[in-house]
Amino acid sequence: MTAFRQHARFRLLAPVVALLVLAGLGVGYSVHAAKREAVPAVHGEPIDTARPGQLLFRNTAPGAGHGNIAAVPADTAGAPRTVSGLGCERFYSAAGTGVCLVTSTGAVPRTYALIVDRQLREVRRVKLSGIPNRARVSPSGRMVSWTVFVQGDSYNTGGFSTWTGILDTRTGYAVLNIEDIPLFIDGRRYRASDVNFWGVTFAADDNRFYATVTTKGKTYLVQGDYGKWEAHTLRENAECPSLSPDGTRVVFKKRVYSDAARPWRLHVLDLATMLETPLAETASIDDQAAWFDEHTVMYARSRGKGGSDVWAVPSDGTGQPRELIVDAASPSR
């Protein structure tokens, strides 16, 4: 009977004691983590994104202003950065229009595409769902596009789903998922429904665009027509295209390495000849590159420990990659 009582007491006491100890541990660690994460609120410095001669990027340096949009002079990219008060997961800016993909952690996590003006003030907010992936603005600043990865779509299938949207800032019309666009593969209308689009880049006419489409395990480079609302494949194995300022070439990532987690090498495709050139950057790059100038592309290169830096490499396959901005991602001019 004594044994019974002791046993019963253990059965009662153990969970209570465990609850107190574990709750203490959990709360204690969270408080510690919150203190660590609590950075002094950055006094957002003003940035004019339409001012020429600067590089805009997402600041990933630890401390105050982590994740905020920052600027450096393009000719002295190592100079101290001007850090704004706008935080984004992905960012791109052209002609004074910026797109900023953010996730907020509330009771239910939310993802937004914020359209910002040249002072980085929010002018419109598009509600999305998923993990921010790509963001781009057409050279004129009119057409905005983005890609998010959707969670929960792919459980058990080993793949993933993307939702790519396009917003015409002049008309205000937004397509939240462009995958219903009529698609032609090698000239033939294609109707399978496992298509996913990502990585849109618009031409100067605000109508022609390029993007990646995947279906049946293959990726294609497509050329789209926004007005006619159709897309045609140009070639296989080309992801995240980015159109050069003169509109004649795209830089893209091509699967060339066997390592499933790091398969991509940056290439440049001449749209007139359809000839591709591998770039001197041999590290696997998982980014939609941007053009530093007519002869140089820039991109975020992962440091492998969660951080990244922005690097630049000549677009003709010559030269060597060079580090442009430390602790940075999402570069644009």
């Binding site: 239910v108 999305l128 080993g158 993933f160």
Partner: protein, 453 residues
């Protein structure tokens, strides 16, 4: 939880010392051990859903891994459980230590939450941790379900599993909310989510150790080599048919994510609401698990199991039909929830009495493995059909298959087999020729009446 702590004897048959009316209605008939296991599962589900909710965000936004990487994680998830489940079931029976094996499973998953911190940004290490976490889940499921069924009188099995699954689902509801609350409170410190998740999981292990009682049955014939005893269970006609039918139905069961994706496309649901769709299914499951489990005890568990698949067929029909808007959304999610409430726990309740106590864990592991394996194959078939013919035709193929399976089950299975679990017959209802070899001695009780060991 006070119930399980205060009463250590089975409540079902009015154990001495338990005054009737002291417990609220339903719980009076649910054994304390089942409520304790439900509490363990609830707490553990809070912990694991916390991690699932933030893992993709953590991998992509914090570690900067390609989403490709979490595609690889997904395949690991499903692959890791299969073998472990069978081996765990066998070990639990061999030594008659179900609580120990389940505890190792719960403990392994708890430690894995800290492993996520230790793994840093190495894809290989993260993959290993996720696989180990899943292995822990595979290890604990069958011994836990065996304990539930061994702790419950045969006529109340459906109710007991319903209560357990409902408690489990409460955890699934709380988990993501808790995770995002921690993220919001700490300024997006993912490591804090993992540590809190570990603490919650550790509490689950403590609850298991202190509140759940194991039971000893005569171990199965030790001369039988390793897994043969488990597969020997298939020689019993009723259990064999159950396994075959469960696997066949698993082949035509469409994965949840596919249902939500189709709903989203079909109804043009705004992306921002997409993450809320699973809440519809879970909500219906949560509310209906207990009533349908109890109804299964009265009307026949096998019938309820098949009825649940009829509800699934109804959900397919909603997705294929011409209607739109809320007239599709609400019934489809409701039917999907009914499907889970009428099949998940009910199947274990139906299978329990077919399995001798000494081999019950192995038998349940076998049944669950067959079902899980069939669902993986189903994803592959559906993926191929989707690619070849499009999602609607793919779903129509699955719906046709499901209808055929149900017709075969309805007319191809002798009613008395389907009714082996009926309420009016108690205890060992198996016909002598259906009894598995190496079965427990005839006077071994089918449920737990033991006193404190």
């Amino acid at each position: 939880m006070y119930i399980s702590a205060s009463s250590s004897t089975s409540a079902a048959d009015g154990a001495p010392g338990l005054r009737p009316g002291r417990r609220a209605g339903l719980l009076r008939t649910v054994p304390a051990n089942v409520v304790a296991l439900g509490a363990v599962s609830m707490v553990t589900d809070v912990s694991s859903e916390m991690v699932s909710a933030v893992l993709p965000l953590y991998l992509v936004l914090q570690l900067g891994l390609s989403p490709l990487a979490f595609g690889m994680f997904d395949s690991l998830y499903s692959g890791a459980t299969v073998l472990v489940r069978l081996v765990g079931g066998h070990l639990a029976d061999r030594r008659q230590r179900r609580k120990l094996v389940a505890g190792i499973g719960y403990g392994l998953s708890a430690v894995c939450k800290l492993g996520l911190l230790a793994a840093g940004s190495s894809v290989g290490a993260l993959g290993a941790v996720v696989a180990a976490d899943r292995a822990g889940k595979g290890l604990r499921t069958a011994p836990r379900d065996a304990l539930i069924s061994l702790s419950t009188p045969p006529q109340a099995l459906g109710l007991a599993f319903g209560v357990h699954r409902a408690m489990d689902t409460v955890g699934a509801f709380i988990g993501p909310l808790a995770a995002f609350a921690v993220l919001a409170a700490t300024g997006t410190a993912y490591d804090a989510v993992f540590v809190v998740s570990f603490c919650v999981a550790a509490l689950g292990v403590v609850l298991l150790v202190s509140l759940v009682r194991d039971r000893q049955d005569p171990p199965p014939d030790r001369r039988e080599p390793a897994l043969r005893a488990a597969f020997g269970l298939l020689r019993a006609a009723a259990f064999r048919r159950t396994c075959v039918l469960t696997a066949a139905l698993g082949l035509v069961t469409v994965s949840d994510s596919f249902i939500y994706l189709l709903l989203q496309r079909r109804l043009g649901i705004a992306p921002e609401y997409f993450p809320l769709l699973p809440l519809g299914t879970t909500g219906a499951y949560l509310l209906l698990a207990v009533p349908l489990g109890r109804m299964a005890d009265r009307t026949g568990r096998f019938r309820m199991f098949l009825g649940g698949h009829v509800a699934l067929l109804g959900a397919y029909a909603m997705l294929l039909g011409p209607a739109g808007g809320l007239f599709v959304l609400i019934p489809a999610l409701l039917l999907h929830g009914v499907f889970y409430a009428a099949t998940d726990g009910v199947l274990m309740a139906a299978a329990g009495p077919m399995l001798p106590a000494g081999l019950r864990t192995s038998g349940m592991a076998l049944l669950q493995t067959g079902q899980a394996g069939a669902r993986v194959v189903s994803s592959i078939i559906l993926g191929a059909a989707w690619t070849a013919w499009g999602p609607r035709t793919g779903l129509a193929v699955m719906a046709t298959g499901l209808a055929v399976c149900l017709l075969v089950a309805r007319f191809g299975f002798p009613t008395d087999d389907a009714r082996t679990d009926d309420t009016d017959s108690s205890g060992g209802t198996e016909a002598p020729d259906d009894r598995a070899p190496g079965t427990a001695s005839p006077n071994a009780r089918a449920y737990d009446e033991e006193t404190i060991a």
